[in-house]
Each structure stands twice: as structure tokens, then as C-alpha cells.
């Protein structure tokens, strides 16, 4: 396997032109180095985005009532209306593609007035009424106790799940809030849980740490909201197309609330799946861009190798002539030149990969040691497959880089090669 004659030839031409060899090799080295760095940071970027989504249900949708924009069935335009408990119930039963639907109502401490008190401690927080399902769509992290449950809903229980910040304001540091009572707008609620923001960085409206969650039914009763619902979060089963589900729900709601069938503005909506898709597309796009830019840089390096090999072949014309006079077959000559090209690209590429991976790992190490939780740095990384793939591409490129010079080398007649001075 290890053919000394061949390697002797390769190294002799590399050694005779150290500067030239170094410059050539640097092109490929730099190309692959940049590719690896970009891929590594790209990975960090991807994790950063993905961790941002966390466990938020991606196939989901928010809908809320807005003003009508068209007169219809005797109603004027600019009419205000609300969704109702019955709407929610019927939608849930009517559309099997819906996985969860969670209605929500919200009230704020009016204009800075404090709405929650406990003894002398007091604060202004967002108070929200919702269903247990809400925590499956936009999950909060339950620090202690529990979330609102179905019994609470059915029995109009005066229970509250409070945000972490709410707890800090209303309770002493080492106090256990579970089972304690707080006053919300003058009415006593028993604290059953403490929550904070979940793994997702997506925030719908209010800051979870600064809000108080109570059962929707209780909310409606205490605040005199009848059967009104403010907005609904909806998730569809995996197979369902959320945009179609949105259309169906909207059509249904328009007919139920006597809204013109073509009044698209009347039901507000936000298709999260669409937004997620856009972002994922962007990530994929960036990934592709990295490969294109990286490969192009690499290609530039490889073209450099190919060029140098052409020069080498030219310089070695006479030598090749001698070899052919002594009986070297064209295959042998080509083999030598292509091997040299592969050796140049692969060895310099290998250095680029090793150094690139090294730099990425160093960034990761520094980020971890400095306690950073930015996934852009802590999750940067190059997986082995990508590195092997890059090396594979290099070898293929090496073959190409060597091929044209090799063809050139054997296209010269032996006698012309021998005459070359």
C-alpha cells in the first residue's frame, strides 16, 4: 500500500516549493476552517431558536373577537361581540382535528391600582381566568402546588395559581404560600400553586411571573362577565392543517355571531404554526447558505490546488517523459498526480477541520465556564458526521483538482515531454 516511489515524488515537489505549497494549502485550509466555524455556530444558532420555542405547542393558533367591519342581518358595522363558553364547547365537539382548546379572560389592576392584597402586602397584577388545557398549549413551569383543574372549573372554586413574582411580593421569603389566602379585588382566593415561565421564550401577552391564574368559570362569576370568553388558544392534532382548522372555526364563529361570511376582520387570529414554519425555513435557509458559502470558499481553495498542480505538471514534464520512456503507464502518471492533489487538499483540509472543531470547542468551553446560558455559544458544535462529510467532499474535490492536470500530463507525447527543458 505505502508506495515509496510515489510519495517520494509527491514530497520532492512539495519540498522544492515550500512557499508555494504553503500558500496553496492555506486556501483549502481556510475554506474548510470557515465552513466548520460557520457550521458550528449555525448549530448554536439553531439550538438557540429551538430552545426559545421550548415546549410551546407548535401546531397552534390564537383567536379572539374583534369589531365587525360589515353590516349584516340588521346589525350595524363596528359591532363588538364576545366569544362564549358555548362557542368553545361546540367548537371542541364539532371539530375532531382540534386537540385542545383553552379559553381565557383577563383583567388588569386598573391603571396602577393594586388588585391583590395579603395583609399589608399588596400589588398590581394581571388576573387571568382559564382552563386546565391552557397549560398544555402554552406550558408554565409549576414550581409548587398545581395548576387550575377541572374540579375548580366545575365547582367555581376560588383558587389561584400565582406567579413567582406575585409570591415574592405577597409572601415572606421562607413562607409557603400553598393553602394560604390572598385577596383579589376584595375577594378571598386560596393559593394552590406557584408558577413561572416555562421552557419557551414565547410570551403571549402578560408576564407569567407577574400574573395570577384562576379558573375561567370563577373569573366570569366574580367579574360579572356572564359566559364571555376573551380569546382562545387552540392546538390541532399533528396531522391536521392548522390554517384549514382556523378557516373552519372562523366560518363557524361568523355564522354563530351573525357576522357577514366575508368579514375576515371580525375574528382575529394568529397562526403560530405559520410563524414557526417561517422561522424553521429561515434556519434551514441559513444552513443551506452556510454550505453554499463554505463550499464556494473551499472550491476557491481547491481551484488553487488544481492550478498549482498544473504548474507542477508543467515543471515535471521532462521527468514524466523519462518515466514514460522507462515504462510508466498513463494510468500510473495520472494516479500519481491525482494522489498528490488529494494529499494536498485532504491534509490541509484535515488541519482546517481539526482547528475549526478546536475553536468551536474552545468557544463552548469558555461559554460553559463563564456560566453563560446562551445556547448560541453553549450549544455550538460540529458533529462527527458533518466533519466526515466535509473530509469526504475534500477528497472528491481533490480528485477533481488533480484530474485536469493529470490529463494534461498524459496528453503530451512522451517524446515531446522528454525534449522539454
Amino acid at each position: 500500500m505505502f508506495d515509496k516511489e510515489k510519495w517520494q515524488e509527491i514530497f520532492s515537489s512539495l519540498k522544492n516549493n515550500k512557499m508555494r505549497t504553503t500558500l496553496t494549502v492555506f486556501g483549502v485550509f481556510w475554506g474548510i476552517f470557515m465552513l466548520i466555524i460557520m457550521l458550528g455556530l449555525g448549530m448554536g444558532f439553531k439550538s438557540m431558536i429551538q430552545e426559545g420555542f421550548g415546549d410551546f405547542a407548535t401546531n397552534s393558533l390564537l383567536i379572539w373577537p374583534q369589531q365587525t367591519t360589515k353590516a349584516y342581518k340588521g346589525f350595524p358595522r363596528n359591532r363588538r361581540y364576545m366569544f362564549t363558553n358555548e362557542d368553545v364547547q361546540t367548537i371542541k365537539e364539532k371539530f375532531p382535528e382540534i386537540e385542545f382548546i383553552a379559553p381565557k379572560l383577563r383583567a388588569f389592576g386598573s391603571e396602577g391600582a393594586n388588585n391583590a392584597t395579603r395583609g399589608t402586602k399588596t400589588g398590581a397584577f394581571s388576573v387571568e381566568g382559564t382552563f386546565p388545557e391552557y397549560n398544555l398549549i402554552d406550558p408554565s413551569k409549576i414550581i409548587s402546588g398545581r395548576f387550575v383543574n377541572n374540579v375548580d372549573i366545575k365547582e367555581y372554586k376560588k383558587v389561584a395559581v400565582i406567579g413567582k413574582y406575585v409570591k415574592d411580593v405577597l409572601f415572606d421569603k421562607d413562607e409557603n404560600p400553598i393553602g394560604e389566602y390572598i385577596k383579589i379585588n376584595g375577594i378571598y382566593f386560596q393559593v394552590v400553586g406557584v408558577l413561572t415561565k416555562g421552557a419557551s421564550n414565547i410570551s403571549l401577552g402578560s408576564d407569567k411571573d407577574r400574573s395570577i391564574v384562576i379558573p375561567l368559570t370563577t373569573f366570569q362569576k366574580v367579574y360579572n362577565r356572564g359566559n364571555e370568553v376573551g380569546f382562545c388558544a387552540v392546538t390541532a392534532v399533528k396531522e391536521a392543517n392548522i390554517a384549514q382548522v382556523q378557516q373552519k372555526i372562523n366560518t363557524f364563529l361568523r355564522s354563530r355571531h351573525s357576522i357577514a361570511p366575508d368579514d375576515e376582520q371580525a375574528v382575529g387570529g394568529f397562526n403560530l404554526a405559520k410563524e414557526f414554519k417561517k422561522i424553521f425555513k429561515m434556519i434551514t435557509g441559513i444552513g443551506i447558505l452556510i454550505w453554499i458559502v463554505g463550499t464556494a470558499t473551499l472550491l476557491a481553495g481547491v481551484i488553487g490546488v488544481s492550478n498549482i498542480m498544473l504548474v507542477v505538471v508543467k515543471e515535471r514534464t521532462k521527468e514524466i517523459g523519462i518515466q514514460r520512456a522507462l515504462g510508466a503507464t498513463p494510468f500510473k502518471i495520472m494516479n500519481n498526480i491525482i494522489t498528490e492533489a488529494i494529499f494536498l487538499t485532504a491534509s490541509s483540509g484535515y488541519m482546517g477541520i481539526v482547528l475549526g472543531v478546536g475553536v468551536i470547542e474552545l468557544i463552548k468551553m469558555i461559554a460553559n465556564n463563564s456560566g453563560s446560558d446562551n445556547p448560541f455559544f453553549t450549544h455550538a458544535g460540529v458533529n462527527l458526521n458533518v466533519a466526515l462529510m466535509a473530509l469526504f467532499i475534500l477528497v472528491i474535490f481533490g480528485v477533481f483538482a488533480g484530474f485536469i492536470p493529470a490529463k494534461r500530463a498524459i496528453s503530451i507525447k512522451p517524446i515531446d515531454a522528454l525534449r522539454d527543458e
Partner: protein, 226 residues
């Protein structure tokens, strides 16, 4: 062994056509020691290149060892050059980054002989040339005569049928030239056909048969008195 009949060869450069060999007939038997003479530009090197399958010809035929040498693939040509023909050049043409032994061994490398074996054989041939001590010297550390003896060893190592030497003594002084000629005679006595192109009368007189080229054909022939 070598049979040329009505051999024509022209060089085409741009719009000019230079007719160099004009219907050459020549028969060389196995074991002959021949010199080719003629004025500069008479086509001696051209003839030798055709004989060495380094160049093609236009008309007539060339048979080597009863095989027609025409329209060969480069692979086939390489095979014949490797097995049947040895070359000795005026400018030695040693590979600069290989030592004497490796240079001598090179034809065996193309035959696939193992490194150890071919180097051992190369050493034997260098020994016959009186160059055993120089085996691991690089070409630029050798004198002209030494380089030519290395080249001769290289031309012999694959036990060819014929050795083609184009002005092998052209770069050597007269004493060294005669030593080289003695070597050729010795090799020839082992049965290898040798064809030497030369300008020097005292070199040609060391061969058995002298051929004079003129105007692309053989003008005259002499049998030496050796």
C-alpha cells in the same frame, strides 16, 4: 529483430511540413551492435525515437520482435518500452530526487517488482558498472561518466531486447567515452542488441556495423573490422 520497411516520418509545424525519414529500409538482427551516423538534422534521433516507440511514424512499417509497432495505445507502448527497450540519453535523464540505486530500479518498479527485490537487483547492476559505493548518492553528486553508467545500468535492468542510445558519449570526455563504449560492448556480448547514435568516428568504430543517414534514407553501410 528490428525490421523497418519504407518508413516515412514528417514533422508538421504550423503550415510547414518537414519530411525527415523518406522511405527507410533497415533490418537489424538480434545481438547486433550498431552505430548510426550522419550530419546534424539528418534524422538520426528521429529514427531512434521511432524505434523506441516514443514517437509515431507516417508510412511503412516497423516490426519489433515480429510485432507490428503501429497505432499502439499508450498503455501498450509503455508495456513494450518497459519490457523490450532500454534508453540511454545524451543528457543522462536521471530523476533528480532519487538516488543512484532507486534510479536504476525504476523500470522494475513499473513492472511491479517489490521494493526490496528491485533495489537488490539494482545494486548488482551498479556493481557491474563499478558504482556500488555510489548507490545512495543523488545524481547531482555524480560525475557525468558516473551518471551515464547509472543510466546504462537503468537501461539494462529490465533485460531488454534492445538498448537505444542517442549520443550517449556526447557529454563525456574521450577517455570516459571509450570506457562507456567498452561497457556497451560487454553488454552486447550478453546478447542484447544495441543501437548507438553518434557523431564521433572513434565511437562508431567500436561498433560492428555503421549506418550513414542522409536525406532521410540510408546512404551507406559499413561492417567494422572489429
Amino acid at each position: 529483430m528490428i525490421e523497418l520497411k519504407g518508413l516515412h516520418k514528417s514533422y508538421i509545424t504550423g503550415n510547414n511540413k518537414l519530411h525527415v525519414l523518406k522511405g527507410l529500409d533497415l533490418i537489424i538482427e538480434q545481438g547486433e551492435l550498431i552505430s548510426v551516423m550522419g550530419s546534424s538534422g539528418s534524422g538520426k534521433s528521429t529514427l531512434l525515437n521511432v524505434l523506441g516507440i516514443l514517437d509515431s511514424y507516417d508510412e511503412g512499417y516497423y516490426k519489433l520482435n515480429n510485432t507490428l509497432m503501429n497505432n499502439l495505445t499508450e498503455k501498450k507502448a509503455a508495456h513494450y518500452r518497459n519490457n523490450m527497450i532500454g534508453f540511454v540519453f545524451q543528457s543522462f535523464n536521471l530523476i533528480s530526487f532519487k538516488n543512484a540505486m532507486e534510479n536504476v530500479a525504476l523500470p522494475l518498479y513499473y513492472q511491479g517488482v517489490s521494493r526490496k527485490k528491485r533495489n537488490q537487483i539494482a545494486l548488482e547492476y551498479l556493481d557491474r558498472m563499478g558504482l556500488k559505493e555510489w548507490a545512495d548518492h543523488m545524481p547531482n553528486e555524480l560525475s557525468g561518466g558516473q551518471m551515464q553508467r547509472v543510466a546504462i545500468a537503468r537501461s539494462m535492468i529490465s533485460k531488454p531486447k534492445v538498448i537505444l542510445a542517442d549520443e550517449p558519449t556526447g557529454a563525456l570526455d574521450s577517455t570516459t567515452s571509450l570506457e562507456v563504449m567498452d561497457l556497451f560492448r560487454e553488454i552486447n556480448s550478453s546478447g542484447i542488441t544495441i543501437i548507438i547514435v553518434t557523431h564521433e568516428k572513434d565511437i562508431s568504430e567500436k561498433t560492428d556495423r555503421i549506418i550513414y543517414l542522409k536525406d532521410g534514407i540510408i546512404e551507406s553501410e559499413f561492417i567494422s573490422k572489429n
